[in-house]
């Protein structure tokens, strides 16, 4: 699957090797003779974040979305991570145009599910999750969306102290397959 987003320089295909195996058993634990679901640590926090993201996208609430993605959008306190305003707006354009396509629940992949093939230290690190909407680029372009846009569909999320925080958007996740970029987003001011 190739990922291409206008304004993003990195657009290389993702290798399939890091994806979790399809037959991965659901995480469970046993209490006596009963086996019950045992979500990985952090899953609840990640799901809460995804619910909030879907709500903001569905409502086309740019302010709420900006707040949820603030850790990767940067700001005066984290200038090194600052995405350019134009890059952010292009993400927002695509999210807005593709809101319907992003209405589905994304797949959540924990580091533990893909390790060691998720290349710890490069793509997912311990405590990190990959949030990927099921439709890849090329499929996710919604009806009526501009031809130069595809829907962003991957987020890297880190769970710290029970709180899920977005630490990467699709373009720099792809870029992470090479050297980890110092700056997320485009290079324009």
């Amino acid at each position: 699957m190739a990922l291409a987003l206008a304004g993003c320089s990195a657009a290389r295909p993702l290798p399939a090797t890091w994806l979790p195996p399809a037959d991965l058993p659901a995480p469970t634990r046993s209490e006596g003779s009963v086996t019950i679901d045992a979500p990985e640590p952090g899953r609840v926090a990640v799901e809460s974040l995804v619910v909030a993201l879907r709500g903001a996208i569905g409502a086309r609430d740019a302010g709420a979305l900006r707040g949820l993605l603030a850790p990767v959008l940067g700001g005066i306190d984290r200038p090194a991570f600052a995405m350019s305003r134009e890059a952010w707006l292009q993400h927002l354009d695509a999210l807005h145009a593709g809101a319907d396509a992003l209405d589905a629940m994304p797949a959540l992949t924990a580091h533990a599910q893909c390790a060691p093939r998720c290349r710890p230290g490069v793509l997912l690190e311990p405590g990190e999750w990959l949030v990927a909407w099921p439709r890849g680029a090329g499929v996710a372009r919604p009806r009526g969306a501009p031809t130069d846009r595809v829907v962003p569909w991957m987020l890297r999320v880190s769970v710290r102290d029970g709180v899920a925080v977005v630490t990467g958007l699709d373009d720099d996740i792809v870029a992470a397959l090479g050297p980890r970029p110092a700056v997320s987003g485009g290079a324009r001011p």
């Binding site: 206008a6 086309r60 609430d61 740019a62 302010g63 707006l89 927002l92 354009d93 807005h96 145009a97 809101a99 319907d100 009526g144 969306a145 501009p146 031809t147 130069d148 846009r149 324009r188 001011p189």
Partner: protein
């Protein structure tokens, strides 16, 4: 059929209804040279651009009917300056400002370079495309910057109009000629339009008596509380539309937060 359209409404989910109710709001269907629509979402300006054009006839309700915004600009391109790139496809945006225009400035590339040389560097540095319209947009932003109005919230429409008048006066001085022109500039709280030698028209209405989109066969739906204003190019051919901007002198139209529309001749402002 219009090539430029400004839509300003008191409700965010009525673009499709207004498109269906107002035949005069129909856009040119041939959008093979490119098409773009911009909308305000809060203080952000979001864009959908088709820089390489639409292969099928343009229907604004189809491509933008899902927008939830009361401030929308749309422009059908006739590519005269610049390639078919997103950077050359209107509307343009800068911070909270959204802009669309028709017309070609005199002077060509030299004229654009002259405009760029007089802009603050943060504006000339962010010129991305090759079009006259983007250069004009940034030139007018420069006029707003010099007036201390670039980041002003709740700017009175009359003040915004006067700042634009100053910017347009300096544009003519810099280029040494006056060209036919039509432009719409919005900050999400209404709009200011200017046109000269380019026939334009505007419309203001309250309510849609029987919405063609929302009404069922037996159950008519009226949007009584909806207020909206439309600005478009072309001569008025439908009831309710009023002409402006066809004179050489030039004229402004302002749409305020209450969707009241006011006209002013440029000669009266100078």
């Amino acid at each position: 059929m219009a090539r430029i359209l400004g839509y300003f409404a008191s409700q965010v989910d009525r673009l499709r209804c207004v498109c269906a109710a107002e035949d005069g709001a129909r856009l040119e269907r041939d959008a093979r040279h490119g098409f773009g629509v911009g909308s305000h979402q809060g203080r952000e300006v979001l864009l959908r651009r088709w820089p390489t054009g639409l292969a099928h006839p343009l229907d604004l309700a189809e491509v933008a009917g899902d927008l939830r915004s009361g401030s929308v600009l749309a422009q059908v391109r006739r590519a005269t300056v610049g390639g078919r790139l997103p950077e050359n496809t209107q509307p343009f945006r800068f911070r909270q400002w959204m802009f669309a225009a028709l017309g070609t400035l005199p002077g060509g590339a030299d004229g654009r370079a002259r405009l760029a040389s007089t802009m603050p560097s943060f504006l000339s540095d962010t010129l991305r495309g090759e079009t006259d319209s983007e250069a004009l947009f940034h030139h007018l932003l420069g006029a707003l910057f010099r007036a201390g109005a670039l980041d002003a919230e709740g700017l009175e429409r009359s003040a915004l109009r006067d700042h634009l008048a100053a910017g347009l006066a300096s544009l003519d001085d810099l280029l040494g000629a006056r060209a036919p022109l039509a432009l719409l500039l919005s900050d999400g709280a209404g709009c200011v339009g200017f046109a000269r030698s380019t026939p334009m028209r505007w419309l203001r209405r309250v309510g849609i008596a029987r919405c063609p989109v929302c009404s069922g066969t037996a159950q008519p739906v009226a949007h009584e509380t909806l207020r909206y204003a439309l600005l478009a190019d072309g001569e008025p051919s439908m009831p309710g539309w009023r002409p402006w901007g066809g004179h050489d002198d030039g004229a402004f139209v302002t749409v305020d937060r209450g969707f009241e529309v006011r006209e002013a001749r440029w000669s009266d402002l100078r």
